[in-house]
Symmetry: C2
Subunit: 331 residues, 2 copies
């Protein structure tokens, strides 16, 4: 089953079930108007959504227009992004010149969750000098998770899986890490691929709480990376349990894997520019690849061993954003 | 004008206007059902709410029951907590044994915003060993703030002021700061005092983007501190502008001052236990005051120079929370 969210002018959008061939869809309204409210009552919502999926496979539904899509969750109450790929963490220490971080427990920060960009929405930033970078990753959406939930118990709370581009502004990252307070300026809104799916919908692409798919990333039409999600040092269930150590997790909480990275990056490439720069520093003493420019295009799509692409593609342009009040100022 | 939120069984509660004597109230429904939706359209909501306040001053309204109160904002899309009191930051470096942090720009982390506890709601934690501490602070609620808004422009976006207890679990603070990723385990849900007020409602208690009131804190009935909010190194307008450097701030974003602290802490005391412990370390080489125990009570209420108490009091007990699944386990 593939779930998407259509723009209907409301903040949360309209929940759709999309056919497996991606050609037709059915709205889940009026019973389930949006995904954020459906995930809060998932045991009631899921059978209804599955029944719509059945109708679609029998030829029902209307034509599906990918251009109308927003993020599956256009906003949520909580976004907790991990950094669970050890290869990524090690390379970022080279890129940032920071001290090694203990890997005894998961790295995690709370990020902006009031807006997730749609899969074809422009990513707008004020300044190229902020060091515009992408981060290809996977995420899970949980229902309500009580405080103190164990990793084993957490697995059943993972209701949906999504694919995310965690936009990052690298010029702000090290100063913010040095405060110990985490990222505000360095982490603007993320983007999401078109479809949210259940873990079981990934078949053997979901193993031990990990999304074992290749994340193909193209920057201005050239392949940049195709790292696989299987090498997480902590599974998503362990990230969920970590997040719930001292707090109840509200239904709709999204937990991110951090940038997908593999030990054999020489073969598969990287899922963010900073990592490639670190590899260049290790190889030649200095980085050769610059960050993104206005007008650049980015494409991200995960593919499984059989060639299926369950999340669809993020296809975005980086554009210049005018600052507040600039429309009133003489140009 | 004083705004409060009554428990009506909905996630966001029911918006109330409360009389200046605190005895009567009027519901803002059906026009404005809750504060989160009102703040998103504040220019339309404010005149309606002021008209209700006028009716109350003329003797209208129903009896006000403080026991029914939730936080003025029981949840919001974003909570960005600063650490704007230099005295607090310096003492916390002693308490935590961490390196000095640059004060060139504000310290800020993104915290849990899907739940704010009401002023009389118990604060429930799993373990005393986590180092249960309070942090008395002030916060502001903004309407939609565009990216790149200057500090001068940000002042007009500050629509409401609130008083907050930022509950902290100190055993997790240093390990999380050392990652550079900020606080997840160390920062469970905050509590809010009963009333949100407009900056102008504070009269000369609101100066240069600062809440110049004494924050009286009593722990188990003994005065712990009464530090004044005026010594912020950055005003709230500067914190708002900082937060909006690379992101649009969604309407309802709450920005916190961090723990209120004064240079003359020997006279006024502190607004969190960790600070007192740091003062003890400086004076005698080791901390003497322990963190909170289950059953402890905490009271926080800000008072202005004329004795007015615009936010009302937080009055809470710390209680033991059973972990997930414990109800099903044999005891």
């Amino acid at each position: 089953m593939r779930l998407a969210t259509r723009n209907n002018g409301t903040p949360d959008g309209e929940l759709l079930v999309v056919s497996s061939d991606g050609l037709r869809c059915l709205s889940a309204a009026p019973q389930w108007t949006d995904l954020l409210s459906a995930i809060a009552q998932w045991d009631a919502a899921e059978p209804h959504l599955l029944a719509l999926a059945d109708r679609l496979e029998q030829g029902g539904g209307e034509a599906f227009d990918p251009a109308s899509l927003r993020a599956p969750l256009p906003r949520s109450w909580q976004w907790l992004d991990g950094s669970a790929f050890a290869t990524h963490a090690e390379l970022m220490q080279v890129a940032f010149g920071t001290d090694p971080i203990s890997h005894e427990r998961p790295l995690m920060y709370q990020g902006l969750s009031d807006r997730f960009l749609g899969p074809r929405e422009d990513a707008a930033f004020l300044r190229e000098e902020d060091g515009i970078d992408f981060e290809g990753e996977f995420g899970v959406v949980v229902d309500a998770v009580p405080i103190g939930t164990s990793a084993a118990e957490a697995m059943a709370h993972i209701r949906l899986v999504v694919q995310i581009n965690d936009w990052s502004l690298r010029a702000h990252a090290v100063p913010e890490m040095n405060t110990g307070f985490g990222f505000i300026l360095a982490k603007p809104a993320c983007s999401m691929a078109p479809f949210a799916v259940r873990p079981d919908d990934l078949d053997d692409g979901w193993r031990e709480g990990r999304v074992c798919l290749d994340l193909e990333i193209d920057w201005n039409g050239e392949r940049f990376g195709s790292a696989n999600g299987r090498e997480m040092a902590f599974g998503f269930h362990e990230l969920v349990a970590h997040a719930a150590t001292t707090r109840d997790l509200v239904a709709g909480t999204i937990i991110g894997s951090g940038t997908v990275a593999n030990r054999d990056h020489a073969q598969v490439g990287s899922s963010c520019i900073s990592e490639r720069r670190a590899i260049e520093i290790i190889a030649g003493g200095k980085p050769a690849t610059g960050f993104m420019h206005f007008g650049d295009r980015l494409r991200m799509e995960a593919v499984d061993a059989r060639g299926a692409r369950p999340f669809g593609a993020i296809e975005q342009a980086v554009v210049r954003r005018e600052p507040a009040g600039s429309a009133q100022r003489p140009r």
